[in-house]
């Protein structure tokens, strides 16, 4: 049974001056999924999100939310809520007033408002902070308040615009996990924008990779990572070695290259010398200068290697991505 579509983008485009920020993008988003719009800055992902929210209007094409054409509707007439990149909390209101804002606009009666706001605060594990001002909170706490302020309205779609960008690494990893948990618990569709491919791979049910205003590839994290369809996707998502061999450009991920002092061949191999060994905790990266004139990184060594050792690097042919130059 196909999942119901909740947001549908039909050939939307948007230009800023002479720059075509979003170029004829079509995308169907299913109810209850966690979808990530991934891409470098300027790739159009944020503009797509802002068009779904209603802050920007498409020059052409249309946007449907729950089968209703909302292309020309103002943000306040759309059943979506946004978590902003720098939180956008109202600085003159305390935490609970911030969270109640959307409910107050809708004219929901005071006691229910308070109950729902406190419940939302509990969901983001910030109970007891209701009377703080945003300026008295840490970045991670503001993030949670922003999340609660959006979720309390029970939107059918939650839009998240690089919400973890300003947090430090540890906190970001923890929030990634919590966000995913929260999404499962509330069952709301999450549309998440990020430029961080690791974040996208960790959290998403599906990823749409954006480049120059277009979707390069749409698929599950596993598909995006293991079977990139374009050179851009293979290079943007995960680490990759870009090699010019036999007149073609071949991309291979570091973990698929096996390095050994002994000659071996899994399908294709090159000889070279270990230039550097970079220890990075769980993995070790071996930087190898090959005799074909390029360098590559391998994370799989069969022997104990030292800098200066002559080695053979080899990989299976099915691990190669062939890229049109």
């Amino acid at each position: 049974m196909p999942k119901p579509v909740i947001v549908s983008l039909k050939s939307i485009s948007r230009s800023f001056g002479s720059v075509r920020a979003v170029d004829n993008v079509s995308l169907e988003i299913f109810a209850g999924e966690f979808i990530t719009l991934l891409g470098p800055s300027g790739s159009g992902k944020t503009t797509v999100l802002r068009m779904i929210a209603g802050f920007e209007k498409p020059d052409s094409g249309s946007i449907f939310i729950s089968d209703k054409d909302v292309s020309q509707l103002a943000p306040y007439d759309r059943d979506v809520n946004t978590v902003f990149q720098d939180y956008a909390l109202f600085p003159h209101m305390d935490v609970v007033t911030n969270i109640e804002y959307g409910l107050r606009v809708k004219g929901i009666e005071k006691s229910e408002r308070r109950t729902r706001a406190l419940h939302a605060l509990e969901q983001v594990r910030l109970s007891g902070f209701e009377n703080r001002k945003p300026s008295q909170l840490s970045g991670g706490q503001r993030q949670r308040v922003a999340l609660a302020r959006a979720l309390v309205n029970r939107p059918s779609v939650l839009l998240l615009d690089e919400p973890l960008g300003a947090l430090d690494l540890k906190l970001r990893e923890q929030m990634q996990f919590e966000l995913k948990e929260l999404q499962r618990a509330v069952g709301i569709t999450f549309i998440f924008v990020t430029h961080d491919q690791e974040e996208a791979l960790t959290m998403s049910d599906r990823i749409a990779v954006f480049n120059q205003g277009k979707i390069e590839q749409l698929g599950t994290p596993a598909e995006i990572y293991s079977a990139p369809q374009t050179a851009f996707v293979s290079e943007f998502v995960g680490q990759i070695n870009k090699m010019d061999m036999d007149g073609a450009r071949i991309n291979v991920r570091p973990e698929h290259i096996t390095t050994s002092k002994n000659a071996h061949n899994l399908g294709r191999s090159v000889n070279g010398v270990v230039r550097d060994i970079i220890f990075a905790g769980a993995i070790t990266r071996y930087l190898i200068d090959t005799d074909k004139g390029f360098s590559l990184i391998s994370t799989k060594a069969l022997d104990a290697l030292n800098v200066g050792d002559p080695v053979t690097a080899s990989w299976e042919r099915e691990r190669e991505f062939h890229v049109q130059k």
Partner: protein, 286 residues
């Protein structure tokens, strides 16, 4: 030589501070507070009605005169009313203007508008008021000539003309702080409010206005205090209208102590105003 000076200054932080602040402090104490003190003291002196000389003897007669004469009470209330009206008019005109400049206009238009707001400040006060005089001149003025055919007539010289003139004069002092405040207001707060379901008017009342309040207070301190002390505009386009400033001005040459007593009133009003502003907490966010 210069090295030695900077070395010795580096070792003596107190000397450094003295060098930094002596000139402005001297100015503040002598020229500003000194003059104010002299003014306030002379308010308690009186004048010999026969010779016209100032009698340097402490007396409260000036204050008694001021509080008992209903004419002065009327002048105070009228001046206060004018200052409030001017401040309100400036606010109503400046908010949309500042909003347009900060949030709607493209960067090039924005620069042009800032320049346009500033330009009148370079022109002489007198020139501007005299041009309003020729605008508002009954029958022969520009307003009557231009708008008379569609039934709009100049209010003539009087309180309305003074409010118009002062609003015109002080409007830039309201637009500029509001513009600065509006520029500091992050766009995404407006987006967030709309996203949470608020229409524009609701966003204005609950988000824009409260965050802009400190700027509004800053602007109003100019429009209010400048209106409170004005005496030239009243003379030129006010007809027979008397404001506090003009009463001070008229008494200045004939009864200096009494003029000083009258000038107590705007100083006191501004003091109360600043106290209220402080209590509202608006200055804490500036």
């Amino acid at each position: 030589m210069i090295d030695q000076i900077s070395d010795s200054l580096h070792k003596r932080p107190r000397l450094r501070l003295t060098a930094l602040l002596s000139a402005p402090l001297l100015w503040l104490v002598v020229a500003y507070l000194g003059a104010l003190a002299t003014l306030l003291i002379s308010a308690f002196f009186t004048i010999d009605s026969f010779t016209g000389n100032i009698v340097q003897q402490f007396t409260l007669t000036n204050f008694a005169d001021m509080f008992t004469d209903a004419a002065y009470r009327n002048v105070v209330l009228r001046t206060l009313g004018i200052a409030i009206a001017v401040t309100l008019m400036c606010t109503v005109l400046a908010i949309p203007m500042a909003f347009y400049m900060a949030k709607v206009a493209k960067p090039r238009t924005r620069k042009l508008l800032v320049a346009l707001v500033l330009t009148p400040l370079w022109a002489s006060y007198l020139v501007k008021i005299y041009s309003w005089r020729s605008m508002l001149e009954p029958r022969t003025g520009v307003v009557d000539w231009l708008l008379g055919p569609i039934g709009i007539h100049s209010p003539g010289f009087g309180i309305t003309a003074v409010i118009i003139g002062l609003t015109y004069l002080w409007l830039p002092y309201m637009i500029l702080p509001l513009f600065a405040g509006m520029e500091r207001l992050p766009n995404n707060l407006l987006d967030a409010s709309g996203d949470l379901g608020a229409h524009n008017w609701y966003t204005f009342r609950k988000v824009i206005f409260p965050l802009l309040f400190p700027s509004l207070v800053a602007g109003s301190m100019f429009t209010f205090s400048l209106s409170l002390g004005d005496y030239i505009t009243t003379q030129i386009i006010g007809g027979k209208l008397q404001m506090l400033g003009s009463v001070v001005y008229q008494n200045f040459s004939i009864n200096l102590p009494f003029a000083a007593t009258i000038s107590f009133i705007p100083v006191t009003i501004m003091g109360i105003y600043l106290y209220l502003v402080r209590r509202s907490g608006a200055l804490e966010n500036m």
